[in-house]
């Protein structure tokens, strides 16, 4: 027989359920399908960037700066003669990693705080809510700027800061949803059955707030992408020669003056498209969830 600890080991809560929900959304909805495909493509491109990119994103060739589109350079080259397509492709890594980190942090912190607060209630809830309140006093971008002031430029500090800034939002949403869920008799029933708190939290409460979390995370991913791009734009995020899309837009901006808009244009378009798709998917997931819950 499996030891008791093993039996209550947390499975990935609702992962199957939410991927199923995603599939359902995609099957019914052409726009969502298009977005999904696009995002999948971007992720694939990011993962296999070295295989896909025709050139190295950092390979400078000063004699071939500002080339127009050609077979060799489908999107042309930038001020240093680097291949813009390759930079955009590698930029997917730099640009998606940050938001992923943000979401991971906001999820881990926010969901734990929320579940613990909702479950234990009383002074635990009061204390954690106070923490959430204080965190809530800092808009994401501002916290990121402070983090840069303290820890210096780069990806890590703004990413952590925005993750922390998103934590209270996630925590509030999850907490209220968990409180609502917690008040329902099925949770009471599991308590009366004698299930340990850990199991109730992981196997019953979390899976039921999970769709909301997924929808929220998706939308947050969109915002995190924009916020991190803004930080890069301000020169406080990733630094040259990174191919972060926000940074590329910022770097490419002066070249527009001289009529070379490609370096700013393409990463800008990809950035907007990715955010757009993520937002559309997030909203659809949220909608979907409402319809799916039993009518009460």
């Amino acid at each position: 027989m499996t030891p008791p600890q093993m039996r209550f080991a947390p499975r990935l809560p609702g992962a199957a359920a939410s991927s199923r929900a995603l599939l359902r959304v995609v099957r019914r909805d052409r726009l969502a399908a298009v977005c999904m495909t696009l995002l999948a493509l971007v992720v694939l491109v990011a993962v296999f960037a070295p295989l896909i990119a025709p050139h190295s994103p950092t390979e400078v060739n000063l004699s071939s700066a500002y080339l127009g589109p050609s077979l060799e350079h489908p999107l042309g080259t930038d001020a240093s003669g680097r291949d813009i397509l390759s930079r955009v492709i590698f930029g997917a890594r730099a640009s998606l990693l940050g938001p992923l980190g943000v979401i991971a942090l906001a999820l881990a912190l926010g969901v734990s705080i929320a579940l613990v607060a909702a479950w234990f209630g009383g002074w635990v809830d009061t204390g954690l809510s106070a923490v959430i309140d204080v965190l809530f006093a800092f808009p994401g971008l501002l916290l990121a700027i402070i983090a840069v002031a303290v820890f210096g430029v780069g990806l890590t500090a703004p990413m952590l800061a925005i993750g922390i800034a998103y934590t209270p939002i996630m925590a509030r949403i999850v907490r209220s949803s968990a409180l609502r869920e917690r008040a329902l008799p099925y949770i009471a029933a599991t308590t009366v059955l004698g299930l340990p708190a850990r199991r109730i939290l992981w196997r019953h409460l979390l899976p039921n707030v999970w769709p909301l979390i997924v929808a929220q995370s998706t939308v947050m991913f969109g915002y995190a992408t924009i916020d991190l791009a803004a930080i890069s734009f301000l020169g406080l995020g990733q630094q040259p020669p990174s191919s972060d899309w926000g940074l590329m837009v910022a770097e490419g901006r002066p070249a527009i003056l001289a009529g070379h808009s490609a370096e700013a244009l393409y990463p800008g378009i990809v950035l907007v498209l990715v955010v757009l798709c993520v937002m559309v998917l997030g909203r659809r997931l949220g909608d979907r969830d409402d319809r799916q819950l039993p009518r009460r």
């Binding site: 329902l184 008799p185 029933a189 059955l193």
Partner: protein
Amino acid sequence: MSALLELEHLRVTLPAEEGATAVLRDVSLQVGAGEAVGLVGASGSGKTMTARAVVRLLPPGAQVGGSIRFAGRSVLDLDREQLLRYRADDVAMVFQDPRSHINPVRRIGDFLTEALVLTQGMRRTAALAKVTRLLGETGVEEPERRLRQYPHELSGGQLQRVMIAAALACEPRLLIADEPTTALDVTTQSEVMAMLDEVRHARGLALLFITHDLDLAAAVCERTVVMRAGAIVDEQPVARADLLQQTAPASSTSAPASSTSAPAFFTSARASSTSAPACSTSAPEPAVLEVSGLCMVFAGLLAVDDVSFAVAPGASLAIVGESGSGKTTIARMIVGLQAPSAGAIAVLGHLRSRPPRGARERRTRGREAQIVFQDNYSSLDPRQRVGDALGEALDLHFRPTAEERRRRVAELLDSVGLKQEHARALPRALSGGERQRAALARALAVQPRLLVLDEAVSSLDVATQAQILDLLAGIRVATGTSYVFISHDLAVVRRVSDEVIVLRRGRIVERGATQQILTSPADPYTRLLLDSVPRPGWKPRRRAQ
């Protein structure tokens, strides 16, 4: 005299995810001027949809076929202006749930006068005077003050009266009342129905009265039609009390003989369970449940006030009382979901004044007492299959082998009258009754010594109710499980309990043997409560002034 309202072969189809569903398939009925017609049917049979079709307030995308005629005019052919006048002058609707049908952010006075001012062109002061009078007529105390209040400051009963007053304000010819009392407790229901009846007669209103309670319909209507699955069925309505009477003996003290109602599983498992005391009949056994001086205060509200009682092994105690009297609160305290403000609860002699320490004590307490909740819509984890829910309970308490678990789950499903396929179903795919049975099966899986049933059968149809009650009785005899049975349904109470306590505003007003209380109540409140329950030949009455 031709009918005021005439529905002929009314069909309504609603757009659904795949194709369209016919919500109403074939509805034909007539309401004469000044006539009261009852429309009865199970939940989801299409009663509300019929009412909405009459005022052409169907969900977007609805397709309507057949005809609706009001005073000879075809309602479906009215143009926009005519439709507005028709709604404003001819029909009025009292909706099912007043709390959600009255704008929560506008004052009561605003709600009441809105139609008068905006559709009848009445001056506001005149309108206010009129609705004040109407409110008084419908039995709302201090009507002037109410006008300045917001909906949430009124009780459900008061709000329902406001809704009726609003419907009467424009002096319609036909009043459609959609389950106007479902949300109310029996005593209030009786009052509201009496008021409605009075007002209708006084004004010669035609009434289409929608309810799922046949006795209630019979009490106020001249004629009753029955609806099932979107169509009027041409059959004589059956009173549910009769059904209960037929299928089960009136007294539960005599053991129900059928061995099938208590499956082998319960007896065998209980016998093998070492922690549970043997079920013997030896005389001075300690009470399974002992409650003394129990109090519960919610933000200044004394919800439970000094309640004491005991339940002996194998006994069944019923708690009755109007809505809000504290029944559920007591139930929750017994199983430890809520800590009492004062007083003591002991189950099998173990005090439950503090939360359980550690997993072992949790489990022990789980085996001592279980509960089946009032609200079947959410008493099961919406993401857990029924079989898994049962399996989880079994795993926790008995650690069966996979084989054993499967067998026991099958037995449990069988015993509550569920099919084996239901093991794989998610709660959302179950009907209300099926969900309730699954919840019951989960509670039974633990083989508790005490089972608290909070309105556990109220949402079931009569036949299923009878079956479950049989099962409960069987288990009680076979295993000596004790019950605390909460219900407002006196017929059910009569059938399952030996003893009754009557609760009013958190206090016990009367207690005693079931038979005695139900037949000759001593307390006036108990009498009122009994009088308010619709039954054949019953008439709603206003509370004695």
